[in-house]
Amino acid sequence: MLVAGYAGFGALAAAHDIPLALAVASTVVLWALPGQIVLIEMHTLAAPLAATVLAVMLTSARFLPMTLVLIPELRDARHRPWKYYIAAQLLSLSGWTMAMARFPDIPRAQRLAWFCGFALVLMTVSAASTAAGYLGADHLPPLARLALVFMAPMYYLLILTGAARERSSMLGLACGAVAGPLAYLAAPEWSVLLAGLIGGSVAYFILRNA
């Protein structure tokens, strides 16, 4: 599933004339597909630098609770503290989900090594998929290219509708989906951030007062 998402992202980057090296580097540096898509879309819309950084940062907020849950599970007196900071960079939604499922069967002392190894494999496969999607998009006929680029929004359409179990995530999704196109009509270069702040705040307000 990561392959499809990152191949779609690579094709999207190619369609927006982002250099291949940068597209692949973003997979390693950001290691967060929504943030990467936001980065590329906002760059194309000529959004202000601060707005882009802020929007990317807000889409990555999920890493804080994930880190808070993961790190205590990895802790062992024998590990050097800096290794946890490496593990934090390697953390992704799929790696976290898998780790949470497997940890009960893995001795505590081996979890850090297991997690880093597994996450590095995920990252390598994703970086390769980014490159493959990018290069594929350049050499494929227009129709196939369109289909490949279409994989990026489809990936998120499914992962978001499928993952929305809590009320906060469902409301956030619904309000954002309405606010996104509206904000784009009002101010394209600020639309991503604006939609998130307004849609998210409306969702939060409904949640508090429901």
Binding site: P34, R62, F150
Partner: protein, 108 residues
């Protein structure tokens, strides 16, 4: 082009701000606090807003598909994901993209 690399570096730093400090405060902050709920709502709204805008008012390559074609592609992806398989993401994504491809080639 330098500017784009700088942007990537800044975005990388901004993302790490959620990851690194999490190691330090793994015991301190409550995931049930109001601030946290708000950040969660905003984060979901950003990505949902982006995806709905990409599907309704696309820029670039995606604009080559009509609204109806994008809607049918999305419907096929959702059907394959939720009803035909047990939430198999790969099947859903490929079904959506495949449907768009078939629609386009049938119309040419």
């Amino acid at each position: 082009m330098i500017e784009l690399w700088l942007l990537l570096a800044l975005c990388g730093l901004a993302t790490y701000l959620w990851r690194g400090p999490g190691v330090l405060i793994s015991a301190g902050i409550s995931p049930r606090s109001g601030l946290f709920a708000w950040v969660t709502c905003v984060a979901y709204a950003i990505i949902a807003g982006l995806v709905s805008r990409m599907l309704l008012m696309p820029t670039g390559v995606l604009a080559e598909a009509t609204l109806a074609e994008r809607a049918i592609g999305s419907a096929v992806a959702l059907t394959a994901y939720f009803w035909l398989t047990r939430r198999n993401l790969l099947v859903g994504v490929v079904a959506g993209a495949g449907a768009l491809w078939l629609l386009k080639s049938a119309l040419l």
